[in-house]
Every structure is written in structure tokens, then in C-alpha cells.
Subunit: 303 residues, 2 copies
Amino acid sequence: MAEVKIVEVGLRDGLQNEPAMLSAELKRELISRLAEAGVKHLEVTSFVHPKWIPQLSDADLVASNLPDLPVTYRALVPNRQGLERALKTGVDEYAVFMSASDTHNRKNINKSMKETLPVLKEVVDLAHQEGKRIRGYVSTVFGCPYEGEVPVKTVAWLCEHLLQMGVYEISLGDTIGVAAPQEVKQKLNELLTVLPASRLAGHFHDTRGTGLANAYVCLEAGVHTLDTSFGGLGGCPYAPGAAGNLATEDLVYMLERSGVKTGIDLNRLCETSLYVQKHLNKPLPSKFLKSYAAERKKQKEGQ
Amino acid sequence: MAEVKIVEVGLRDGLQNEPAMLSAELKRELISRLAEAGVKHLEVTSFVHPKWIPQLSDADLVASNLPDLPVTYRALVPNRQGLERALKTGVDEYAVFMSASDTHNRKNINKSMKETLPVLKEVVDLAHQEGKRIRGYVSTVFGCPYEGEVPVKTVAWLCEHLLQMGVYEISLGDTIGVAAPQEVKQKLNELLTVLPASRLAGHFHDTRGTGLANAYVCLEAGVHTLDTSFGGLGGCPYAPGAAGNLATEDLVYMLERSGVKTGIDLNRLCETSLYVQKHLNKPLPSKFLKSYAAERKKQKEGQ
């Protein structure tokens, strides 16, 4: 486990589930602070229609004012129109998304999985024409809120299509945070018979507390790219009040404790999470963050 | 992974770190509710000197009024005096404890590890004379708040002594919640060269969010007994405000999702945690519980 790539998705996947609106100025400040903490891969926003996700309706502004820092900036694009907006900004690379279950895909994109593939191909082709890399997200890999169990064969079929299309990496999403490590291990083993581990990423939500265990299983299986959000920012649209994405802090702690250098300064990362927590006016769910905040408070009281 | 033994330690290890005092009557109610939810192994209190842990100063009362239910009741006993008190109550079995680091052991017991062993032997012998089983707890297995790293050889040496003494099981405690799964795997592998997996249990604190991943690693290594607390009750005396023991809910969810029948009804367990949460007047840290509470609230609002 020499190297692990951590993709910070808090500003996109995290914020899109937060009701308290943050200004584009504050988002820029957060981007700077995350970069200063050592984050190298940062998904900053989503170019979906502004009406869909009001929190990210400032995508053009945010993505046009990115600080000049040694960070790879990425934005989500749902379709050609989204990519065309994104291409006018300073974002380095893009990502397309779809679900591994038809019902979830229809609710999100209003198309079946099969109908979605050509739409994404058009986006991927255009990104490549512009010399840009593009990632793929597959949602509901470990369960769908409407259909329940999602066959691993469907996931494999979808991933093969996306790789053929030219996405450089596929992030396997446990969108509703139901996965347990035993099934992640089993499903990854099946997927890895047809897909290379180096092209996969794990994207877990900590809705039921299994996020870090699932990430551990990914690492053991050779999948060394993981998506996380600082402070565990985010939530679940199907269970408002539940925890969000796997927290960057919790993953970084696990890795550093295991001798894997992440390049991320946990103290600075926690300070950034405490900073956004103040603006969101709610405690963020990362357990490492809570422990950090408790120790900091104790130290201050002892002074 | 056919069977997993879950030892509910919330009423002892959990409550001993909670400042809000609960009555003996309420504790009896919690015991009944936990048993009704399907908990089979329940540590109910500790017979340490009443001054040490005010929350458990009602040990004699609690342990003398245990509901007649199909549950194995256990109490912690620090020494001969503690066991003599416990023997007058309705508790089925006992547990002794010590640390795997001298400094932590001295701070807790005022003795070196070597000096502690004969004290524990006396307790184990007396329990056996009374026809009672006795468990051993080893604290600071994965790190000591005073000494830092704890050599796995010291842990192995201690466990061998405790097993020779006749304890039927040893619970390996990550007392300050620092362990990461990679090191748990490595240390267990070393310990299992000299100790049988069937005599070991994993006892994790979720201070930094790694509890469930560590439990998963135990199961993979063949250690199928795990200590948890309902709702994730508890805390860390070294970081007040941090999370407590690994939550029973989170473990049960992971197991049931993986096809392991625990016999525990997650809904009833969560209702019990929400009930104690009201009395403690603070949110409990279990992420599964938060997700359950969020869904319940959503359903109620939808009615």
C-alpha cells in the first residue's frame, strides 16, 4: 500500500446535501485551505442545471476563480451543456455520472442506463477533443434506494462501457451508504476479474458507519483511489440528518497510522473542517474531527 | 464467519465515562430492553471502589436486581474485595482487568504489571472455587496514553499468563481508540502464533472512527467475539467529547448485511439507545443510530 490517492469531494458531493448556502467567496477560501492542508485532488463543483442544486448554482463563478495552487481541480458535468459551461472555467478535468440501477438513473437523469451511455460518450469525446481527462462516477453500486440489490454484472457491464468510452477512472459509489466490507470485498473480487484495479476508485458514504471499513477493503483489494469529504461533510437525501461521505480525516488518520504518507496535514485539515462547521452551523460527523476538537478544547482549557 | 459473539459493555464501559448519573432503576430498565432486543452477553457494572467511578457506585444494587432473562450477566471486579461484593449478587460471571503498559497500569491499579498478576490470580482462583467463569481484559493493547507504542510481545506475555491463570477469554482493548486496521491485522497475526483465536475478543473504541474497520479485521483473522456499547455510549477520559466504544448498532448492521445472524433486533436496539440518549441529554455517536433516527423522523413527518 505504497501510495493512496485521496480525492476530496466535500465541496461537491458534500455541499450538495447541505441546506445552509455558502458564498462563492467562502468556497474559494475553503479550496485554498484544503490545498494548504495538502489536498491534491479536489472536486470543486458540479455543472448541473442551477435549479437542480441551488448550493452549486455558483459553479461558473467558483470554477472561474480557482486559486493558482498545485491541485488538480475537477468538476462534475451531467451532459454536453454542462461541459460547455465548464470548459470556459479554470477546471483541469471533468467527471460524468450515472447509476447502476435504471430507476435511480431515471429519477436523476430521466433516462435508462442504455439511453445514458451515448449522452456520456458525447461528453467524453468533447472533453478529449479539448485535451482534458474525464472521470466516470457509477452510483448505487452497492444498493439502490428504489430497486434494492444491484447485480454486480450490471456494474461490470457499465464500467466496461465507460472505460471503452475513454474515462480514465471509475468511481464506484455506495450512494446510500448501505455497503458492508464483506460484500465490498466480494463484489470487488468479481469486478477485478474484468476491470483493472488501477482504473477504479471507492466512493463510500458513512450513513451506517461502514465507510472506513469499506475503504480499508478497497485498499486490501488493490483499489488505491478513494473519495472522501473533509469533516465527513454531506448527508443522505433519503435520510436527512444521517452522516455524509466518508470523512477525509478518518481515512488520513487510518493511513498515516499505518505508515502511508498522504501528504495531508491532519491538524490543518481539521481546522478547515471546524471553519466550515461554523458556517454550516452544525457539527460535522467525522469522529477523528470530534476527537481533535475535544483535545484542542482540553489543551486550551489547560493553558 | 458463521457465528459472532457480541458482548454488550455499554452499561459498564460506556456509562463509566458519562457524567449524567443514571438511577439503578433506569439501568434495570435498560438491561430489560437490551435483552428484549436480543442481547445475550451483558456486562452490567463494575465492583471497583464506589469512589472511583460514581456512575457505577450502585453496583451492588444493580447486580442484585437483575431481571430473570436469558442473558449472561457479567461484572468487572478489580480485586478480591470487588469479587466478594459481586459474589453476593446475581451476576453469572466476572472479569478482571489490567493494562499492557506499566504506566497505565500504575495509574489505574497502583501496581506494576508483574505485581498485578498475583492479585488477579487470587481473584480468578476464588471465582473458580465458587464455580464461576472469569474473563480477562487487557487494556492499552494498541497504544498507551503515557508510553505510546505497546510491544506486541508484552501483550502476548500477559495473555499467556492470564490464560494459564484460567481466564476463559481475553478481551484485547484499544483503550484510547488509536488502532488502525492494518496494525490490528499485523498484531493479531503475531498474537495468534501463541494464542488461540477462540480465546480472544476485540474491544475497540471509536475515538478516531476506526472501530468498525478494526472489528472487521478481527473477524477476518478468526477472532469472533467483539465488545460493543449500544448507541456507541461512552467516551474517552483523555479526550472528553470524543466518541465512545464501537457502537453495537454499527457492528450488528455490518454483520446482518453480510448474512451473519446476530439475533439482535436493530430497531429495538436503536429505540433503547434513543431512550438512554434522552436521559443522558446528548446525542450518541453511532452512525447507524443517527441514520435510524433520521429515517424514523422522516416517516413520522410523512404520516
